[in-house]
């Protein structure tokens, strides 16, 4: 699509230029890879022993898998709680009563603006000082609460923009058949907005998974933290972090693909747009979609 906008169908001369650029681009890519491999080799990072220990059962049963489990558990708790938070405050922002709208608006804007790490650290030390939880649970609870507050606010915005993003005709049709504002919201607009939101919710799960890695800063034994411990124990930090990054990339990439697939499947069941809203990392703020 974007190619069609910028570029006409190439003629013979343009095709030659493209071919040359293609070869140059390929050479540059190969050059970058070669440079990285050369540097790794020079520092002795390519020695087989540094890589083989990554594929032992010890590495996975003691480090990588338990870490991954903690990451996924934290992310699942967070996404469920964030959806609840998001529905409550998203509907709050659509409430007919003005003070309810204001309060919901202030809460959502506040938690969207505060960095997740700031919340996590404050919760972690603050809850520890308040002495209300067993110390072993502190990191998990802090990670989940911080991720819930932040991503819940994003989901609240998704709920609101999902309802606003519906074609005007939906509301007008509901009014024309005699529905009140509340009935129209409950029976016509929300169901379609929620279906339209589903792909965006799935991309929000990617954001939650990525941000759960912040937990390693507050000693939460998630995937990154245990990968680090493994790297420190075996003396192959670089390699352990490569595995950690690759696993994150693979999971997040699959989730993104799945969200695209679901978006295409669902587009017939709603008048709203199901395109997963590009979330600029964890602004989560909606990109390009909200007009």
């Amino acid at each position: 699509m974007s190619q069609a906008v910028l570029f006409d169908t190439p003629g013979p001369r343009a095709r030659r230029t493209i071919l040359v650029a293609n070869v140059v681009g390929g050479l540059v890519a190969a050059g970058i890879v070669a440079l990285v491999l050369w540097k790794l080799g020079q520092e002795g990072q390519l020695e087989a022993s540094r890589w083989t220990s990554l594929f032992t059962s010890r590495a996975w049963t003691n480090f990588f898998l338990p870490g991954l489990q903690n990451t996924i558990v934290a992310a699942l708790y967070s996404v469920v709680l964030a959806i609840v938070f998001g529905l409550v405050f998203g509907l709050g922002r659509l409430a007919p009563l003005a003070p309810v709208r204001w309060v919901a608006g202030i809460v959502v804007e506040f938690f969207r603006a505060v960095p997740v790490l700031i919340m996590m650290i404050a919760l972690w030390i603050g809850l520890g000082y308040a002495d209300v939880l067993p110390p072993a649970d502190l990191p998990l609870v802090s990670v989940v609460v911080a991720l819930t507050l932040y991503n819940g606010s994003i989901i609240a915005e998704l709920v609101r923009s999902g309802v606003f993003g519906l074609p005007k005709g939906q509301r007008e049709a509901a009014a024309a058949v005699g529905m009140t504002h509340n009935q129209s919201l409950r029976l016509v607009e929300l169901p379609q907005a929620l279906i339209a939101m589903l792909p965006s919710l799935m991309s929000q799960f990617v954001v939650i998974l990525k941000d759960s890695a912040l937990g390693s800063i507050i000693t939460f034994n998630e995937f990154l933290q245990l990968s680090r411990q493994f790297g420190a124990a075996e003396g192959n930090m670089l390699q352990a972090l490569v595995v950690c990054a690759l696993v994150f990339i693979l999971i997040n990439w699959m989730l993104t693909k799945l969200a695209d697939l679901v978006a295409r499947r669902l587009s017939r069941r709603t008048a709203g747009s199901t395109r997963p809203q590009l979330t600029a990392d964890n602004t989560g703020a909606v990109v390009g979609e909200v007009r």
């Binding site: 790490l117 390693s216 990109v287």
Partner: protein, 228 residues
């Protein structure tokens, strides 16, 4: 101590504005890097050259799906301590540069997507009309397509900048000890009874930094919007 005395005590014992200044500096340099790299990647991704498109797509897939914390730690624990690539003999400066590089590399992927979504807002008819009146490729891009694409990219770029301001706190993972999250941590460690107040000071600080950027880019993107 009443509330005012507590606030006064915290501001006189710790240099809180200096901590925010570190984050603003991190954001500033990383934003420049991300804008340059991200725009180049965006152009690569919409070019008709397959190898460049592939490079751009791979970059975005890799960096958008890796947690920023992993990138930061990879810089300091992998590239710096294992590959011994040093930017400066001064540790503080060295880690600051590592944090800027990590933030820049990560957000470049999002800048690339913002640029691309800006280009996608331009209807095909605009390019066809430009070609129909005889404009060659470069004038068509310079006079008709790119001005509209930049206007469409303002709102998404604003969102990336907001993300960057908040993500600058992750520099803590790259051992930058003077930025806000590290300073806040030290303050709470030493004044556990004031935890709520300390958190609110930093939270409000970020609200003050982030909200105007959001308001500004939203109003700018409305003002610049191409009415179609």
């Amino acid at each position: 101590m009443n509330l005012f005395e507590q606030v006064g005590f915290l501001f006189s014992s710790y240099n809180i504005p200096a901590a925010f200044w570190v984050n603003i500096q991190l954001t500033f340099w990383a934003a420049i890097g991300a804008l340059v790299l991200g725009t180049a990647l965006g152009v690569m991704r919409v070019s008709p050259v397959p190898s460049l498109r592939w490079l751009g797509t791979s970059y975005v897939t890799i960096f958008r799906n890796t947690p920023l914390t992993v990138i930061m730690l990879f810089g300091v624990l992998g590239v710096w301590s294992q590959l011994k690539i040093t930017f400066s003999q001064d540790f503080t400066v060295n880690f600051f540069i590592y944090a800027v590089v990590g933030l820049g590399l990560y957000h470049a992927a999002f800048v690339c997507e913002a640029v691309r979504s800006g280009i996608n807002t331009v209807p095909l008819g605009q390019a066809e009309a430009a070609r129909a009146i005889g404009l060659p490729f470069i004038p068509a891009a310079r006079l008709v397509l790119l001005p509209q694409a930049f206007r469409g990219a303002v709102a998404p770029l604003g969102n990336v900048l907001i993300a960057l301001i908040k993500n600058s706190t992750v520099a803590a993972a790259a051992s930058v000890a003077t930025e806000t999250s590290s300073v806040m941590r030290a303050m709470i460690d030493q004044n556990g009874n004031l935890v709520v107040l300390i958190f609110m000071i930093f939270a409000v600080g970020y609200v003050i930094l982030v909200v105007p950027v959001g308001v500004l880019t939203t109003s700018l993107s409305r003002k610049l919007a191409v009415s179609r």
